[in-house]
Symmetry: C2
Subunit: 216 residues, 2 copies
């Protein structure tokens, strides 16, 4: 059975590739696994049929041969473990790659998502400027630490892994803020990921969904 993922019928990021289905599409493209997509409206995401797949009412989900998963991290690790190409062959290298996945979603992503939330929900509040300054300082600290680790390397460890896929996806969420660009090695790292044919295919696929939705 071809796996089926879910994605926004009309992505709030307007096709910029920041919704979490893009990471899963990227992983599927890296390993050459074809997939189908079921598009969901916001109402459908909160309806019982989808909540049975993901109790938190989010996209993406993943279904294949009777197994259903949610959480981009869990889905991507499953893809990496059942195909060649996203995890090193050594046991130690494998654990290091998975460690970077957790670092991406649990240490680097939280302040970055927080920053987006400040823009979305606190823009009209009297404390907006002060909050933004605080959350950007937290983002900057993580970027500094990551930049120091990366140094002159191409990837976080020896060769591209699922850890890089997740970390680059997280860094992309800083969008046009210029915060990543303040660290030239991180900007080059993100560009290196985005230049991969698998990323290009994933980006094009999610953009096509958004563009089609505008025509209807």
């Amino acid at each position: 059975m071809t796996p089926i993922i879910t994605a926004f019928a009309n992505s709030p990021d307007r096709g910029r590739g920041l919704a979490r289905d893009t990471r899963v599409r990227w992983a599927l493209e890296e390993v050459g696994q074809p997939y189908d997509v079921r598009l969901l409206s916001f109402a459908e995401m909160k309806a019982p049929a989808h909540l049975a797949l993901n109790p938190f009412g989010q996209i993406p989900t993943w279904e294949e041969d009777g197994l259903a998963l949610f959480e981009s991290g869990g889905i991507i690790l499953r893809i990496a473990e059942t195909h060649e190409g996203l995890l090193p062959s050594s046991e130690a290298g494998r654990s290091r790659a998975i460690m970077w996945m957790f670092a991406a979603v649990n240490t680097v992503e939280p302040p970055i998502v927080d920053r987006t939330m400040v823009f979305l929900f606190e823009r009209e509040e009297p404390w907006f400027e002060a909050r933004l300054e605080g959350v950007e300082a937290q983002c900057r600290r993580r970027l500094e630490q990551l930049s120091a680790w990366l140094g002159e390397k191409d990837w976080l460890e020896d060769g591209f892994t699922v850890g890089d896929l997740m970390m680059i996806s997280v860094l992309q969420r800083l969008g046009s803020s210029g915060m990543v660009e303040a660290f030239p090695n991180l900007a080059a790292y993100v560009a290196r990921g985005e230049a991969r044919p698998a990323y290009q295919a994933a980006f094009a696929a999610q953009l096509a969904v958004f563009e089609a939705a505008q025509d209807t």
Copy 2:
């Protein structure tokens, strides 16, 4: 070689078991793996020797036979994969358990940590009450969704897994707020985890470190 983890020499949570070494100790106790602990001052956490182990300057780290890891999620998954007892034997069950680890750290934990940060760093700000209300609403939404999923079950899936270990550790961070207690099935779920002998041993071990530090 006995694995070595790092922990706070003087935990800011005052021995309440909320620092992330407790999760790792819990996993090690569940699988019956003895371990050593290296305690770090705040200055040592930011020094080059520790940054070489964890570029983000956090505890816990984990070292065994030349492999070093950081991020509690990455460490705990490694422990679960190299010992019996924390992951189901079926491939599907295994993927579901790992999915819950990611859900714990990437979907449930962020607003909970945010709430702690609001208390720690925004208490004197004029916007404190409004911010607290917002972040608690986000926490409550995740708790509601998790409670609906759990229902009358003992654990998130069939039998205790590393996903429960991580989810319960995350819920504990709501401490004495009463937010978990507003959902009786979640409160019973956390209590069920805390009643496990492995958790009790882990809690006692981290508390002993904090108490010893007060005597010196």
